[in-house]
């Protein structure tokens, strides 16, 4: 009995059922915009259905908002005549962006990567590029919901922002979302899912306390207060407070966020592992 296997033929094997049926029209993908929108809808829907995510993105920021506006537990470094709510409200919006774009995305992506969701979606017409685009759009959609709901609560407890600040604020949120989402993907694409969960939550808590998000940089101790300006959290927080206070665009803050967005995107491109 020879153990030499036969070579695999050079010609394709045929089925024994005779000629194949006439070929159908080739399947087509939905247009790129429709695919990305579908994914954004899916992502936003998934985030808003997830209880832990809603706790992180809406309930906790709302508690911080009401808690810090109505009490004097935390020294916000208020100047004479400045009201707590006017400092806290833009900071809470920055916190909301941090929750959704960074912590929420990092955790979701980390677990999707582990369970093979990223691989499966990469084989669908969506592809890797569409997946990232859909996720960023989904994050922006959830942020819109957050801004409306948390903004309404803030207005109800007395927030009086400068209306002209809407445009600079929106720009900062946009660029800040890009930076924080890219950082989330970097984290989720490099570490194990459990480690992502731990780090993303820890970073959220640390930045809430000392990252210049809710508590202004000037109220933080010494050199740390200066350093916070170059963190994405501090830049977003300071920029939104400035926009809310006098409607101006904080250019240094915008610059910091642009640099973070570029650096984190490049790093994520370089080090992100899909499986």
């Amino acid at each position: 009995m020879s153990e030499t296997p036969a070579p695999v033929g050079e010609t394709p094997p045929g089925s024994s059922r005779g000629p194949s049926p006439a070929p159908r029209a080739a399947p087509r993908a939905a247009p790129p915009g429709a695919r990305v929108l579908a994914q954004a809808r899916w992502e936003a829907g998934t985030m808003l259905r997830n209880g832990e995510q809603v706790l992180l993105t809406l309930v906790l920021p709302a508690l911080v908002l009401v808690g810090l506006s109505r009490t004097t537990l935390v020294d916000l470094g208020l100047e004479p005549g400045q009201r707590a709510v006017d400092v806290v409200a833009p900071g809470v919006l920055a916190l909301a962006v941090l929750s959704t774009a960074f912590t929420g995305q990092a955790i979701a992506t980390g677990f999707d990567r582990r369970s093979g969701v990223l691989r499966l979606l990469a084989t669908t017409p969506l592809g890797r590029g569409g997946l990232v685009a859909g996720r960023v759009l989904g994050v922006l959609a959830v942020e819109a919901v957050q801004v409306v709901l948390l903004g309404a609560v803030a207005l109800a407890v007395g927030w009086s922002p400068e209306p002209l600040g809407l445009l600079p604020g929106a720009l900062l949120v946009l660029v800040g979302t890009a930076a924080l989402t890219a950082l989330a993907l970097l984290l989720a694409g490099v570490l194990r899912a459990e480690a992502v969960l731990a780090v993303a939550n820890l970073v959220w808590a640390a930045l809430l306390v000392g990252g210049g998000v809710v508590v202004p940089a000037d109220a933080l101790p010494g050199p740390w207060g200066a350093l916070v300006h170059v963190l994405p959290s501090g830049a977003l927080g300071e920029g939104l407070r400035r926009a809310s206070e006098d409607g101006a665009l904080d250019l240094p803050a915008l610059g910091v966020l642009v640099v973070w967005a570029l650096a984190a995107s490049l790093a994520a491109r370089r080090w992100f592992r899909w499986d």
Partner: protein
């Protein structure tokens, strides 16, 4: 063992691969010399593989033979280190396939890849939206019994329910080439039949299917072409019947390992071969006739050896597979 296998593909080439004018020319998938290394380890080492349009190729092989890596290279999930992969007539090795191309390829991956918090029907509707002309989601879901668990999150589904959902996800875009990595693992017999029926239907509509499986019964029932892989390469290929017919008739039995076979070889004619392909499992093959059978049993009797599971005849696909790939665990 090699007899009759070499000519298989040439013989059937006249029947298969119809020149239908499509760019694929009848070949849904054509892999030649595929190589994929992970660091120092070579997972796929010169793999050759074909799937015809309207045909099912089963990829059989022990764990670690390179089946899943091969599928991943075909799907663009891994970048091959060498060789060529033509999917639906287009070279994909080293390139990311475009969206229309991905729409024409359906995949059921071994790790499932279904989002754990998703509800099954919502997920299928979402995946359908990524295609221009998807299947009717409700009808497809109905066929696979998805409505029974439509409101349960993926994380709480049983293994079989997940498999069915993953198959629905692979079929929803009406693919022309379908990759199924162990599609019926963990399914009960009724669900297995439904899966086979859906695969046959897709094949009837002209789709090509590459199926990896450990289930040789499944390979025999579904596939018109079987490729046996080991050590990252195809070591035999052909129709299931041809692979079995190619193996010579034999006498097989099991007994304690390491018996001295020299006296048996002397007692039998020179036209038969005696081998112990794996410890304790003996095969006498060649021109097997009643004399050979008598020779084997009298040799056993002389030695006081009781031959277990003594069988005479052509081997099953499973025996062919085990003879080719060896029986040791890895």
């Amino acid at each position: 063992m090699g007899r009759g296998r070499g000519g298989t593909d040439l013989d059937s080439a006249a029947v298969g691969g119809p020149p239908d004018g499509s760019p694929s020319g009848g070949a849904a998938l054509r892999v030649r010399g595929l190589v994929k290394r992970y660091g120092p380890r070579t997972a796929v080492d010169g793999m050759d593989l074909d799937v015809t349009a309207g045909g099912v190729t089963a990829l059989l092989g022990p764990n670690g033979a390179g089946k899943t890596t091969t599928v991943e290279c075909c799907l663009g999930l891994r970048r091959p280190d060498g060789g060529s992969v033509r999917v639906l007539g287009r070279e994909v090795a080293g390139a990311v396939p475009d969206a229309d191309h991905r729409s024409a390829v359906g995949a059921m991956l071994q790790d499932g890849g279904l989002p754990t918090s998703a509800r099954p029907l919502r997920l299928l509707r979402h995946l359908a939206r990524l295609h221009a002309a998807p299947r009717d989601v409700d009808a497809l879901a109905e066929r696979l019994g998805v409505p029974a668990f439509a409101g349960t999150s993926v994380r709480r589904l049983s293994g079989g329910q997940r498999q069915r959902l993953a198959l629905a996800a692979a079929l929803v875009g009406r693919p022309r080439l379908l990759f199924l990595d162990e599609p019926t693992a963990g399914l009960d017999p009724a669900a297995r039949l439904v899966v086979w029926e859906l695969v046959r239907e897709a094949v009837g509509e002209g789709a090509g299917v590459l199926l990896t499986t450990h289930d040789l019964d499944e390979a025999e029932r579904l596939a018109d072409h079987v490729v046996i892989v080991d050590g990252g390469r195809a070591i035999a290929a052909g129709a299931p019947g041809e692979l079995v017919a190619g193996a010579s008739a034999s006498v097989r039995f099991t007994a304690s390992p390491g018996l001295d076979l020299a006296p048996l070889r002397q007692a039998l004619s020179e036209e038969v071969a005696v081998a112990e392909p794996s410890p304790g499992s003996y095969v006498v093959s060649g021109a097997v006739d009643p004399q050979v059978v008598a020779g084997v049993t009298s040799w056993c009797a002389q030695r006081g050896v009781m031959p277990q599971a003594l069988s005479v005849g052509r081997p099953s696909l499973e025996e062919v597979f085990l003879d080719l790939t060896g029986r040791r665990l890895r």
